[in-house]
């Protein structure tokens, strides 16, 4: 029997990780690390999975065969990315089958953006352009900085595929914005409700977070505000180029993008409208997320009803 290594405290482990230590397997983790890793992997897996039903209907409404092939391929990629994240969760003791098929809709931890109905093709390509950009921002940071080696390796493929989704989204956003006033208006309407959802996606502002285990354990490398800035840094020049409006501006003195309303604010889910004159607290935002959005049950049912018993017991 081999000697057990001396247990390290959570604080010592955090220090080792900050000094560059990489983690290969569950045997090397502290309980705190495992918990923090599971939490972020669950959000990532559920977000990838739930983007598939969210993207499905309007993918079949694509205006050309090429566009449809691209849209369907995006869905296939997202399911693959979900599969990777659930497979990583299995290494941490979770049951993939159970996670996908035996949870209630409100138990899924996907981002709130994929609890919304996507009602036309312009909304679909704006989701590819804005939401997949948010995904790339978050996963790109993890790919570069994470201490969990299996996730880092898996993200090479994921990052490349997400870039394709983004290119597809931005290509079509540009086309629709340039085609005529009517198609441009559809893009503007989509950006109007999706831009603030993407801003919320990155979570609590840094000054409202007491501590962040995911940063301390170097599961990710950048703070919520840094990631939000990164997203705006990429998205805003593109929206400016295609002449689409958005509620933020660049502040020369602060040398960063500043949101043009008192962030966060109330959201009218039914009409997909932000009430910019109605500021709320982050507790309210988290309550809204936990209550899940209007398409949550439909999307989870689309996934779960697809199960067939190919091997009857």
């Amino acid at each position: 029997m081999s000697a057990e290594p001396a247990p390290v405290s959570e604080e010592e482990f955090k220090q080792q990780l900050q000094n560059g230590k990489m983690v290969e397997s569950v045997d090397e983790m502290t309980e705190g690390y495992k918990k923090a890793l599971k939490q972020i992997l669950m959000v990532s897996a559920d977000t990838e999975l739930m983007s598939a039903p969210a993207y499905y209907e309007q993918s079949l409404n694509a205006p050309s065969l090429d566009a449809r092939a691209s849209c369907v391929s995006v869905i296939q990629d997202e399911l693959g990315h979900g599969h990777i994240a659930y497979r990583l969760l299995e290494d941490l003791g979770e049951d993939r089958e159970d996670l996908i098929f035996n949870r209630e809709p409100n138990e899924f931890r996907n981002t709130y953006g994929f609890d919304q109905h996507i009602d036309n093709f312009a909304e679909l390509v704006c989701a590819h352009g804005l939401f997949d950009r948010a995904g790339i921002t978050l996963l790109g940071d993890i790919h570069e900085n994470t201490s969990y080696a299996p996730w880092k390796r898996a993200l090479t493929k994921v990052s490349k595929e997400e870039q394709f989704h983004l290119r597809h989204g931005e290509t079509w956003m540009r086309r629709l914005a340039n085609k005529n006033e009517s198609t441009k208006e559809k893009v503007q309407e989509a950006v109007d409700w999706m831009f603030p959802i993407a801003l919320e996606w990155f979570g609590l502002p840094d000054d409202k977070k007491r501590h962040d285990d995911q940063l301390d354990y170097r599961i990710k490398g950048k703070s919520n505000d840094e990631l939000r800035q990164d997203w705006m840094d990429r998205t805003i020049p593109f929206l400016t180029e295609i002449d689409i409006e958005f509620p933020a501006h660049y502040d020369e003195d602060a040398d960063e993008y500043v949101i043009d309303y008192e962030f966060p604010v109330a959201f009218d889910e039914e009409n997909k409208e932000w009430r910019f004159d109605e500021p709320i607290s982050w507790d309210d935002v988290i309550d809204r997320w936990r209550a899940r959005g209007p398409a949550n049950e439909k999307y989870v049912n689309m996934i779960q009803s697809g199960k067939v018993d190919v091997m009857p017991q």
Partner: protein
């Protein structure tokens, strides 16, 4: 019928693969190959040349003729790849126009990938 090995392709008369530069290229054609090798596949971390999608290149009267094929009929990046090739080659001073011929024959196969390409795919988690 699907082909899963080089020997099967040989038996069907497709091999050895007559694709890629064969040493008879002009300097300009070699430059076109080099530029095509800089175009990334939009979906996979290899260039179009590394992906063995470019079968032949000829240049006549400042027109680049590119024979290419796709790994699958419903390629999700069909349009992007056409755009990228045109966009890339039109920047060359001796090229005035680009003709892209999607040939489908020989059928693209994983066996067309060389050892270096295979290694890059495996490193990025793509099974062959």
């Amino acid at each position: 019928m699907s082909k899963s090995s080089k020997s099967e392709i040989d038996e069907m008369g497709f091999g050895p693969f007559d694709i890629g530069p064969d040493g008879t290229e002009t300097d300009l054609e070699r430059a076109v190959w080099a530029n095509l090798d800089e175009i990334p596949d939009p979906h996979i971390p290899l260039s179009l040349v590394e992906m063995a999608m470019i079968y032949d290149v000829t240049v006549e009267d400042s027109v680049a003729n590119i024979d290419l094929s796709f790994p699958c009929m419903g390629c999700p990046a069909y349009e992007f790849i056409h755009d990228d090739i045109r966009g890339c080659l039109r920047t060359m001073s001796c090229i005035d126009d680009v003709e892209i011929n999607v040939v489908w024959d020989p059928v693209w196969s994983k066996d067309m990938l060389d050892a270096e390409a295979r290694e890059k795919l495996q490193e990025s988690g793509i099974a062959l």
